[in-house]
């Protein structure tokens, strides 16, 4: 999280008290999880798939995985910021649909491509802003607010299209779904740009410090003079904007406006965030952890497909992986609670 966070055990600071909470196995696992981290899990998974699935380690397949990961990774980036404030956004899948539909409708109506793209992102940010207002100013639980918006935004996506998909085969921005730049698929390029922006926001800006502060201790943040409501509003807007970007990619890939786009995507996105080490209790986590989390889910899905594992077993395995990730999170929290 911070370049000068030095906590190596062989460099003890004399006037600090280092007590890693409860002793025992829980603390030991948490200790190694924090240090070796999720990256080792990814490498292990890749090695496993390379051995089991013969054509897993090919350039084509790697590009394939990267492309399939991009949408979930972008959703998860936005969600990371929200979860860092101890919030949650269940509506990102529905925002994806509304923004995707909106941008296609704009493009079909003859709006210039750059404006249609911007429109999609703005629609997403606006949906997020609405979530943010309810959470920050009316102090409603984020889970309930975004459960509601998940439903009404899905309804909105359907009603914009009268319930029918709208095919747009000559969509101006179809490139960001299917095109490539120097062999790298455009959605992957977009994903990298999104992560660079989010990394900068979280690590280098005042807003980023405020996000961690609000998530770590909301009352202390208020008393320290942080505008907590505004920080919360911005986090939900960012999650919405990221979902908007994901919506553009989705529309471009399927060359149409789909009211069912992104259904259930919020779960994979939450899973990526948690796998990436961000605490659901807020205040702890890294944006690149989320990227690794998203790639793990992508590699797992891809590998299971290559291995011809039936779809329903894929679901079982994915679910178990998510529970293990959350168990690790609560173990970490437990070992920090005391001490």
């Amino acid at each position: 999280m911070n370049p000068n966070t030095v906590t190596t055990p062989d460099n003890p600071i004399p006037d600090t008290r280092v007590e890693p909470g409860t002793a025992g196995r829980g603390a030991a696992i948490a200790y190694w999880w924090d240090r070796v981290g999720i990256f080792a899990v990814l490498l292990l998974l890749i090695a496993l798939m390379a051995v089991l699935a013969p054509n897993f380690l090919s350039v084509d397949n790697a590009i394939n995985v990267a492309r399939s990961v991009s949408i979930n990774a972008i959703l998860a980036a936005g969600l990371t910021v929200v979860i860092l404030t101890a919030g949650i956004d269940l509506s990102v899948g529905s925002i994806l649909a509304v923004a995707g539909v909106g941008s296609v409708l704009l493009a079909v109506d003859g709006v210039p491509t750059p404006l249609a793209l911007l429109g999609g992102i703005l629609i997403g940010a606006l949906c997020g802003a609405l979530n943010g207002v309810f959470v920050a100013w009316l102090a409603l639980p984020a889970f309930i607010v975004t459960l509601g918006s998940m439903t009404y935004l899905r309804g909105l996506a359907y009603s914009l299209l009268d319930g029918q998909p709208l095919v747009a085969s000559d969509l101006g921005f179809r490139g960001i779904g299917n095109g490539s730049v120097a062999g790298i698929p455009q959605p992957v390029v977009v994903m990298i740009v999104v992560y660079a922006i989010f990394w900068f926001l979280l690590e280098r800006t005042r807003f980023g410090r405020h996000v961690y502060a609000v998530g770590g201790n909301m009352e202390a943040a208020r008393l320290a003079g942080i505008n907590v409501k505004r920080v919360l509003l911005y986090t939900y807007m960012l999650a919405g904007a990221a979902a908007g970007v994901a919506g553009l990619i989705f529309s471009a890939r399927v060359l149409s406006a789909q009211p069912t786009a992104g259904e259930g995507y919020e779960l994979d996105a939450i899973a990526a965030v948690v796998l990436g080490g961000t605490s659901l209790a807020g205040g702890r986590g890294r944006i690149f952890g989320t990227l690794v989390g998203a790639v793990i889910i992508g590699v797992l899905s891809n590998g299971l497909i290559l291995l011809d594992v039936p779809f329903f077993y894929q679901l079982v395995i994915k679910g178990v992986v998510i529970i293990i990730a959350i168990a690790l999170d609560s173990l970490k929290r437990f070992s920090r609670a005391s001490g």
């Binding site: 600071i13 006037d15 410090r209 405020h210």
Partner: protein, 517 residues
């Protein structure tokens, strides 16, 4: 005292290591039946680690524990309970929404025909409460009781479960004077019934009043055990204990350099707030340290929060340097030049997951950013400067604040205030849960801040401290200011009379009077 009773608890050669830190190094220690054994030492000295081993929360790396002369393996708090060891933590273990009776019965509810026998549960609760002399209605939700009463309930539960050894970890930290007195009476009663009591406290006068023996820890080592009942040449002096705790003499703990106060900076007139606070009126001058004292619930913290903007005022005017201080939230307060060190470090001030640097800089990031981007260099430089001023090692800047001791954590929050360069600094219980070394540095700093012309308002429940570092004392009672005293002339007795509203001609002789801290 009677002769030397057999030890109830014996701990031999205990060591415990966390990573590279040796939290306890070859510690041997015992508690006799019928004694109060006080543990003292700065935060992180090893007291809590030892108590967590005795109560089964930690496993020692080496060494053994014997209870009633037989070796025991305490693998869990449940084992410790079965062996007769109970611990009353600083943070209470009660379930606020449940009644006193339900809390007392947790895990052992009386059942009749497979149904909860509520009448019997209440009856049992009454018996348990009576055993500790607590007059508490078993049917009240425990969350509505004061902290002191909740503590009584916890002790009642421990006694009911036949605890032979009771560990009390800073039990008076959140208690009023009266509640503390009640607790002391109960502790004495338990002692005379033959229980062994381990009493952890930072407050010297309490230890003086209660303890039969005192053991001092420093840096994971047991420095020594002193018999407080010894007379003659072996008689223990307060200075002896302090020397053992810090490894050197601390003379003149309280620092207050007298110098003329300047113009009025803060002026509060007829200020009122929700919950029957006010009206209060007072001034704080440039360079003046004003102490605000009173019992828990007298409204001191509330007044501070109203001035700062943390809570809404209902009336009155406040001016700072002659300009109206109209604040709707802490953002306004900080902007206007008010700095607040909140009452509860952990709940209201610290970001445990953030680094030292971020904790110190969080309120003033705007001063070290351009277009919202934090400029790392200037921020680090500024933080390093205040950390030097506070004597926190600067190589700790990148550490998570949770790794620091209570004293150093408090210094972080003070550092945050220093960076704000406030005109008025409000410190709410600045030394609560802070070791004596950090205390003396905080006092020095308060003196320093006042010298530069800042108006300082210090809220403290530690009377000797309030008397020692302030120029003027405001005594609050029932949401109002009951008296304004010159701190140099005021006595603890006078302050207590105003704080309690019980005035008597002959002040009752104070047991702990004359004991320096």
């Amino acid at each position: 005292m009677s002769g030397t009773p057999a030890p109830l608890l014996e701990v031999e050669g205990i060591s415990k290591r966390f990573g590279a830190t040796l939290a306890l190094s070859n510690v041997s220690f015992d508690v006799r039946a019928g004694e109060v054994h006080a543990l003292m030492g700065e935060n992180g000295a090893g007291k809590s680690t030892l108590m967590k081993i005795i109560s089964g929360n930690y496993q020692p790396d080496t060494g053994s524990v014997r209870i009633d002369s037989s070796p025991v393996a305490l693998a869990s708090p449940r084992d410790a309970m079965a062996a007769g060891v109970a611990i009353i933590h600083q943070e209470l273990n009660t379930i606020p929404e449940m009644t006193v009776a339900e809390n007392l019965a947790t895990g052992n509810e009386p059942v009749r025909f497979g149904m909860l026998d509520r009448r019997k549960m209440v009856e049992q609760a009454r018996e348990k409460l009576a055993r500790v002399g607590a007059d508490i209605d078993p049917n009240r939700p425990i969350g509505r009781l004061s902290v002191g009463m909740q503590q009584m309930v916890e002790i009642a539960r421990a006694v009911a479960e036949n605890a032979k050894l009771l560990v009390l970890d800073e039990p008076t930290a959140a208690l009023s004077r009266t509640e503390s007195e009640q607790l002391f009476a109960l502790i004495r009663a338990m002692r005379s019934r033959g229980m062994g009591l381990v009493y952890i406290s930072h407050r010297m006068e309490e230890v003086w009043e209660l303890a039969d023996r005192v053991t001092v820890f420093r840096d994971g080592q047991l420095i020594g055990t002193r018999d407080m009942r010894a007379t003659g040449p072996d008689r223990v002096q307060p200075g002896d204990i302090v020397r053992m705790m810090v490894g050197r003499d601390i003379d003149d703990l309280y620092v207050r350099t007298p110098h003329p106060a300047g113009d009025v900076r803060l002026s509060v007139r007829e200020l009122t707030g929700p919950g029957g606070i006010g009206p209060v009126s007072f001034d704080v001058r440039s360079g003046q340290v004003v102490g605000m004292v009173g019992l828990i619930g007298a409204g001191r913290t509330e007044v501070a929060r109203l001035i700062y903007g943390a809570d809404r005022r209902t009336g009155g005017t406040v001016t700072l340097d002659g300009r109206p201080l109209q604040v709707r939230n802490p953002i306004d307060g900080i902007r206007a030049g008010v700095g607040l060190l909140p009452e509860s470090r952990k709940d209201q001030a610290l970001f445990l997951d953030l680094t030292v640097k971020d904790n110190v800089g969080i309120s003033t990031l705007a001063d070290y950013s351009s277009v919202g981007v934090v400029r790392g260099g200037p921020l680090v430089k500024a933080v390093r400067t205040v950390m030097d001023q506070l004597k926190v090692r600067s190589n700790a800047l990148g550490l998570e604040s949770r790794a620091l001791s209570g004293g150093n954590q408090q210094k972080l929050v003070l550092g945050r205030l220093l960076l704000q360069r406030p005109k008025l600094m409000i410190l709410d219980e600045p030394t609560r849960g802070v070791d004596i070394g950090a205390k003396s540095e905080i006092y020095r700093l308060v003196n320093e801040i006042a010298r530069t012309g800042t108006a300082v308002l210090v809220i403290s429940s530690d009377l000797p401290e309030a008397l020692g570092i302030s120029d003027q004392l405001l005594v609050m009672r029932g949401g109002r200011i009951a008296a304004s005293l010159d701190a140099r002339e005021a006595t603890e007795e006078a302050v207590m009379q105003h704080a309690t509203g019980v005035y008597s001609d002959d002040a009752t002789p104070n047991e702990d009077a004359g004991i320096p801290r």
